[in-house]
């Protein structure tokens, strides 16, 4: 009975949990950006913070980095995914690639970035394996690969992480539209596999994945942990600079940080507008391209190149994790040895207590936040079901909003606000901050299977005398066990990977595997980084394994749920 009273409020509560912190955070950013920070004895309005941030010599480069890294990495990842799906979907090769990329989706960004750095650095694994036999190098080349000023390695790190995400999003979209027939028809008309797909299916798919693509763009422009690990330092990206300003002992630097945060927000809005205009441009050229009727004679080459790029990204992440693993067990490992002189458990033993603490903290936050997110999501979807509502396009925008607003734009403001009300200490505020990012992903992950559930089941159950609550608990949720666990695994992976919300809102007191791993980046202890990076990855991956195996065990005698 309690749930019936609570249920109608869940959608409002969900919106509040998701958007409240974003809006409050933006408010907390705008005020100091215009010189208003009563806590520091400053009252606005004033344009000085903007004047000061504009006077920073690094600003043009930092802004340019944000834009170039965002656009290039998103465009690359998106193009590769589109071409791979266009050229290979439905083939056996494609299923292999899909199978390889899916688990990589949940590898945290920080771990993937560390792995890539340990691979491609002049003293990285690749150079070690081919030296000195192939290269003659007995010392690493003095080459600026990792943390290069153009952000190339940072783009690479983002591309390999975004490819699995975009691929799975695209596949989900493909499942919702009838693509096979139009594709078959275009091939029957003599179009190449790839060209035919791009001309007939792609426009429909893109409509479905537009918002996730925007999320990738906004994320790449403002990411902090990947930028700290792979990005340049002279100057750093704008978002890293914001975090640096936030931690300056001089409180007035927070005004500059707030102003820079608004610059970052404006950059992202600008980039999204440019991308939208680009979409229109591409659509216009696309129509002319379709009308010209070229059948696609370069399809095989383009398709192979895309497949190579997609496979490379999967291999890069996997090899990166492998080299993290080797470092975590490494004794002395000089260049150019391909493997350490000796393997040892000492690194793991040295860090065991630190890992235990960080793992407990990480797990507690992730599990609580994910349970709350699941509760709210199931509540919303159940309200939608019982009252026959549908989520509109505008509703989808609300869902994506917390993912589109750059973290560096609202988290600093949120921290200042929390500080003012004295609620800035400890785990609970961090959990609320995580919920902002976990909720949309849990919702997006669960809503399709939840809505796809055959509603006649609920009619039958009701006709058998089961109340709506009984239908939910005894029929719907058990039948949806696998998607619910999968959504839970997604939520945990998202929470485990959160760096900035944990760092800023936790005020340094809340130490998760991710904050510990990124903090180690500055110390350069590759063995410690290996240990923490692997643990971070495991914390994100194990829940997916559980989501896979628990239903298989619980429903081992229920063939009807094999694919459910």
């Amino acid at each position: 009975m309690k749930s019936r009273r609570l249920l109608p409020f869940l959608p409002a509560l969900t919106l509040l949990a998701m958007l409240g912190p974003v809006i409050a955070g933006l408010y907390g950013t705008v005020m100091p950006a215009f010189g208003h920070l009563p806590a520091a004895g400053l009252t606005g309005p004033s344009l000085d913070p903007f004047r000061e941030i504009l006077a920073w010599q690094g600003l043009p480069r930092a802004m340019w980095l944000s834009i170039s890294v965002g656009f290039i990495s998103t465009l690359l990842a998106f193009t590769i995914v589109a071409l791979v799906v266009a050229g290979w979907s439905g083939t056996r090769v494609f299923r292999v690639l899909e199978g390889a990329l899916s688990p990589l989706l949940s590898v945290p960004h920080a771990a993937a970035a560390f792995g890539l750095a340990f691979l491609i650095a002049p003293s990285g694994w690749i150079a070690r394996i081919i030296s000195p036999t192939l290269t003659g190098w007995d010392r690493p080349l003095d080459l600026l690969i990792v943390q290069d000023p153009w952000g190339v390695s940072m783009m690479a790190g983002l591309v390999i992480k975004e490819i699995p995400f975009l691929l799975l999003i695209t596949l989900a979209a493909l499942g919702q539209i009838d693509t096979r027939r139009s594709h078959a028809i275009s091939q029957a008309l003599g179009y190449g596999r790839l060209t035919g797909w791009l001309k007939t299916v792609f426009p429909l798919v893109y409509m479905q994945i537009r918002l996730p693509v925007y999320v990738v763009l906004a994320y790449a422009m403002s990411v902090v942990d990947v930028a700290v690990i792979l990005g340049p330092n002279t100057p750093p990206t704008l978002s890293v600079q914001i975090v640096k300003l936030m931690s300056d002992p001089d409180l007035t630097m927070r005004l500059q940080a707030a102003a820079a945060a608004l610059v970052q927000l404006a950059l992202v809005v600008f980039a999204l507008v440019v991308w939208r205009v680009g979409e229109i441009g591409v659509a216009w050229f696309g129509m002319r391209w379709v009308a010209r009727g070229k059948r696609g004679k370069f399809d095989p080459i383009v398709g192979k190149f895309a497949l190579f790029a997609g496979a490379t990204s999967a291999i890069a992440i996997a090899l990166g994790l492998a080299v993290l693993c080797v470092w975590s067990f490494a004794g002395f490992w000089g260049f150019p040895d391909a493997l350490p002189e000796q393997l040892t458990l000492r690194n793991w033993m040295r860090h065991s207590s630190g890992i235990n603490q960080a793992l407990c903290e990480t797990a507690m936050i992730a599990v609580v936040v994910t349970l709350v997110a699941l509760l709210l999501t199931i509540g919303c979807l159940e309200v939608e079901h019982r009252h026959g509502l549908r989520v509109s396009t505008r509703g989808m925008w609300l869902l994506y909003l917390p993912l589109l607003v750059p973290q560096t734009a609202f988290l600093p403001g949120l921290q200042t606000l929390l500080l003012n009300i004295g609620a800035d200490v400890g785990r609970l505020p961090v959990m609320f901050a995580h919920l902002v990012f976990v909720l949309p992903y849990v919702f997006l992950s669960l809503s399709d299977p939840f809505r796809a559930w055959d509603k006649r089941n609920s009619t039958v159950a009701a006709a058998l005398g089961a109340s709506p609550d009984r239908v939910l608990w005894r029929v719907r949720l058990p039948m949806l066990l696998r998607p619910i666990l999968t959504a839970g695994a997604v939520g945990i992976a998202v929470s485990v990977g959160q760096y900035l919300p944990t760092l800023l809102i936790g005020g340094g007191r809340v130490e998760t595997l991710t904050t510990e791993a990124v903090a180690l980046a500055s110390g350069g202890d590759r063995r410690a980084i290996g240990v923490f990076g692997l643990m971070q990855t495991a914390a994100a991956l194990v829940p997916f394994a559980i989501a896979l195996f628990v239903p298989a065990i619980v429903w081992r005698n229920r063939r009807g749920l094999k694919n459910g």
């Binding site: 006649r456 039958v460 009701a462 006709a463 089961a466 709506p468 229920r558 009807g560 749920l561």
Partner: protein, 212 residues
């Protein structure tokens, strides 16, 4: 009418456009068959009777069961059973658990188990209680679905194209079983179908809906 199911001056419209109009009654033990081409609103009418009609439809008129107005009653309190063309056995429950799900609450565990066992033997499925429903044949599933519905002690029975998934030999067999059980319990039956054979086998009044 005090005995049976009555659709009194039912008129369903969607977005202002009229969809169907019907006003009929079925007495206990009788079958009313509704026929008509697809899209005419046959399933919509059943959804109205079960109380699961989407709010995008507007309805005037009412449903009466044994003289009681159930138009605004929540679906689970109407005591109207329904069978679809799919068996819709809950895949996470065993055959026996599916049947027990339909049982009204109350009674000792032993008596509930006895009723499940009795229901299974009534349709020739002794010893099937622990089976996974997915391992049953089409005809067996249909029989379990029927008994699950009957165990919930409904006061009326709705059939939504109930036999169209079954092959010809099985079809007559299951159909006879359903009608026989309904008659034995004196249930008013409302069936929608586009199959003439089903309609004539039902033996009751046939209403053909036409697009308005």
């Amino acid at each position: 009418m005090d005995n049976g199911l009555e659709l009194r001056d039912v008129r369903i419209t969607k977005d202002g456009a009229p969809l169907l109009e019907v006003s009929r009654a079925v007495s206990s033990g009788e079958v009313l068959t509704i026929m008509g081409p697809s899209g005419v609103g046959k399933s919509t009418l059943l959804a109205f009777v079960t109380g699961t009609l989407s709010s995008s439809f507007e309805v005037t008129g009412g449903v009466f069961l044994n003289g009681e107005d159930i138009t605004d009653a929540p679906p689970h309190q109407r005591r109207v059973g329904i069978l679809f063309q799919d068996d819709l056995l809950f895949p996470h429950l065993s055959v026996g658990q599916n049947l027990a799900f339909g049982l009204q609450a109350g009674g000792s565990a032993a008596s509930r188990r006895d009723r499940v066992v009795a229901a299974l033997s009534e349709v020739g499925l002794e010893g099937y209680a622990d089976r996974d429903p997915a391992t049953l044949s089409g005809g067996q599933k249909a029989r379990v679905a029927l008994m699950r519905m009957l165990l919930s002690e409904p006061c009326a029975l709705l059939l939504d194209e109930p036999f169209s998934r079954l092959d010809a030999a099985l079809r007559a067999q299951v159909r006879d079983l359903v009608f026989a059980r309904a008659r034995a319990r004196s249930l008013p039956v409302l069936m929608v179908t586009h199959d003439k054979e089903d309609a004539s086998a039902a033996g009751g009044e046939i209403v053909t809906l036409t697009p308005i």
